[in-house]
């Protein structure tokens, strides 16, 4: 594929469509990474089971929809609650013993991901499932030459809502102050009477819940399978690492990677776009190893 061939076919309206699609891809990257950002940013835990939390979210929605007849829009918050509960149990039963060993949390959560994946397979079988959504979601908008599907808009809207809610939670509530205090200096926060144990527990559950929320959306975009989470986890990690583990960092990193992916895919092909993106990320981290917006706190 020569360079000329894709610049030769350059078409402004198609390019604008690619940019708009980039926003949608970015919102998918971002919502997949939100939970991870919170868990990593607060407690320094590398949660390898994040992809499986996403998968659990999709399966909870599937279960609620098929066995209890819950409408899809209610399944989304329900998936949040269910997966948050799973996260809470996991945090109490395993993660809290490992906060001092960040590399070990990575390994232990990898074990958790194996267990969750196989457990779900045993319960639901390995054949793919699907989530039914109201037909209004399976249409698209057309404004001039701009095309975007309704469901992509929904994902974008939910992502924005989740980011705003998190921002409000962290910067406008007492709990948020506590979280930020613990992030900056756990001992100092403890000496001011903040129960860091409780903060960690709640943020972990919150992060898991966000993954569940993402999962219930991804189940609509593609397919519900026990292995579906694996595709998202590396991607989500990259967003967190590039962003430096902060909320704003993840938003910017998710936006940039989504746009870049869409633009590269527009000019070349999807496979090559991925490769270029991965290499760019490695190069970027060579230049800025702490990520885009590193917290000012001590190095972990």
């Amino acid at each position: 594929m020569a360079a000329g061939s894709f610049f030769g076919s350059f078409d402004p309206s198609a390019f604008i469509n690619a940019l708009i699609l980039g926003i949608s891809i970015a919102s998918i990257w971002l919502i997949a990474a939100l939970g991870l950002t919170i868990i990593y940013g607060t407690a320094g835990v590398i949660n390898m089971a994040h992809g499986e939390f996403i998968m659990l979210g999709a399966y909870s929605s599937y279960m609620l929809q098929n066995y209890f007849g819950l409408p899809f829009l209610l399944c989304v918050p329900a998936a949040f609650v269910i997966v948050a509960a799973v996260g809470l149990v996991l945090e109490r039963g395993l993660i809290r013993y490992l906060y001092k060993r960040p590399l070990d949390t990575l390994l232990a959560t990898f074990g958790v991901s194996l267990v969750l994946m196989q457990g779900v397979r045993l319960i639901f079988g390995s054949d793919p499932k699907y989530l039914a959504v109201p037909s209004i979601f399976t249409s698209n908008f057309q404004l001039g030459f701009v095309n975007i599907s309704a469901f992509r808009v929904i994902v974008l809207a939910i992502t924005i809502a989740a980011v705003v809610a998190l921002w409000a939670l962290f910067y406008r509530t007492r709990f948020g102050v506590q979280v930020r205090a613990v992030m900056q200096d756990k001992e100092m926060a403890a000496s001011f009477g903040i129960n860091s144990d409780r903060v960690y527990m709640l943020t972990f559950a919150l992060g898991a819940g966000l993954a569940g929320l993402a999962g219930s959306l991804f189940g609509v975009l593609n397919i519900v399978l026990p292995t579906m989470g694996m595709g998202y986890v590396v991607q989500a990690f990259l967003v967190v690492v590039v962003g430096g583990g902060t909320l704003i960092g993840s938003v910017v990193a998710g936006g940039a990677t989504g746009e870049l992916q869409s633009i590269f895919a527009y000019f070349t092909n999807d496979t090559f776009a991925r490769f270029v993106l991965y290499v760019l990320i490695v190069v970027f981290l060579r230049v800025r190893p702490q990520g885009l917006f590193a917290p000012s706190a001590t190095r972990r």
Binding site: P102, A108, G111, V115, Q118, T271, Y278, V282
Partner: protein, 367 residues
């Protein structure tokens, strides 16, 4: 003192371990088993490399599939070219991808020796460059782990995408065994088994000597506290890059052996799951013990082959659960368990000042 820390006892254990492995072909007449054990030897090499890099260097490497896969591809290309001759000079899959001449980077693989050298040098060089870049930028800990994962995905995608040169997802399947001159190494023969075992033994002994050398001590000090070592004037990035590169070299050797044994390589060798399972082997066996890591690989892969069929659907559940328990309660793995048990039966102290001070030289895990 604990006999576990006794250097003589350790060397003795190494000796016994390898002699036991060496005599296996005397009692095993089953060519399938021999081939299977030889591939376990390859997994042992990988676990060893993880143990050096992660256990001793403190660098968690989730992308060990890169040097392994690159080495494997190099070897597969060498073996593939051995089966090409003047009348059909280029591999069949290239014809199907409308290449009418051999790509330039395949040319050196016409020569077996040069091909194998490249299969080892290219991955090693990659590790040196990638490690150098990352460590000089002071990327470390979990960040480095994630970056290796990203790099692994990048390589995986690239190899898949350049199908005319690598045959994409189908991989390269050299039709014949590896030949040196006229001598073919039958992958089912004791020769193949002993060759892998010899490499494993050399790597283990070399690795052990290295961890006890001055270099090894500095590397372990870096694991303990990189900042402090840096303030002492050491080039921390240099040490980290070196240990990471050595581990990469061992993985490349493993990749070459693997293809010689299975006559097959595909992007699946660069799959994240495979690289993660290498870490599991070392983690369960004991990342701070070279032999522990190797035994971990044997145990897990052996159980996968034999128990896996019995448990079938619950196998991953068992493996995952086991791994969680090990990480939670035995951070030093099964080798750590042995250490604790042996610690219950202390040896009478002979020349204790000697033994103890020597022992203190070695940084303890978990610092």
């Amino acid at each position: 003192m604990n006999i576990y820390h006794n250097a003589t006892a350790q060397w003795l254990a190494y000796g016994v371990f390898f002699v036991l492995l060496a005599v296996v072909p005397m009692f095993v007449d089953d060519s399938f088993l021999l081939n299977q054990f030889a591939t376990y030897g390859v997994f042992g090499l990988l676990a060893l490399s993880i143990s050096l890099c992660w256990g001793f260097g403190g660098i968690l490497n989730l992308g060990q599939g890169i040097p392994f896969g690159l080495g494997a591809y190099g070897m597969a290309m060498t073996m593939q070219m051995q089966s090409q001759d003047a009348s059909n000079p280029i591999p069949p899959f290239m014809l199907n991808n409308s290449l009418d001449h051999l790509p330039w980077f395949w040319e050196p693989f016409r020569h077996t020796a040069l091909g194998i050298i490249l299969a080892l040098v290219v991955p090693t060089l990659f590790c040196a460059i990638f490690g150098g870049l990352m460590f000089r930028a002071r990327v470390s800990g979990p960040f480095f782990a994630i970056m290796t994962l990203a790099m692994l995905s990048a390589w995986y995608t690239l190899i898949l995408d350049v199908q005319p040169y690598t045959n994409g997802a189908n991989g390269i399947t050299p039709p014949g065994a590896l030949k040196f001159g006229d001598y073919a190494i039958d992958p089912y023969s004791p020769v193949a088994y002993w060759s892998v075992l010899a490499l494993l033994a050399v790597a283990t002994v070399g690795g052990r000597l290295m961890t006890r050398s001055r270099f090894g001590l500095v590397v372990q000090a870096v694991r303990g506290d990189a900042e402090r070592v840096r303030f002492l004037g050491y080039n921390v990035a240099g040490y980290e890059t070196t240990i990471y590169t050595i581990a990469g070299f061992i993985a490349a050797v493993a990749g070459c052996c693997w293809v010689a044994l299975t006559q097959y390589v595909s992007p699946a060798q660069l799959d994240t799951t495979f690289s993660l399972s290498m870490v599991i082997w070392a983690g369960i066996g004991g990342r701070l013990s070279l032999i522990g890591a190797i035994i971990g690989a044997f145990l897990i892969q052996g159980a996968q082959s034999y128990l896996g069929d019995t448990f079938l659907n619950t196998w991953l559940l068992v493996l995952g659960g086991f791994f969680i328990l090990v990480v939670r309660f035995l951070p030093k793995g099964l080798a750590g368990l042995l250490e604790t048990i042996l610690g219950r039966f202390p040896l009478p102290q002979r020349g204790n000042s000697n033994g103890n001070s020597a022992q203190r030289l070695y940084p303890q895990p978990g610092e």
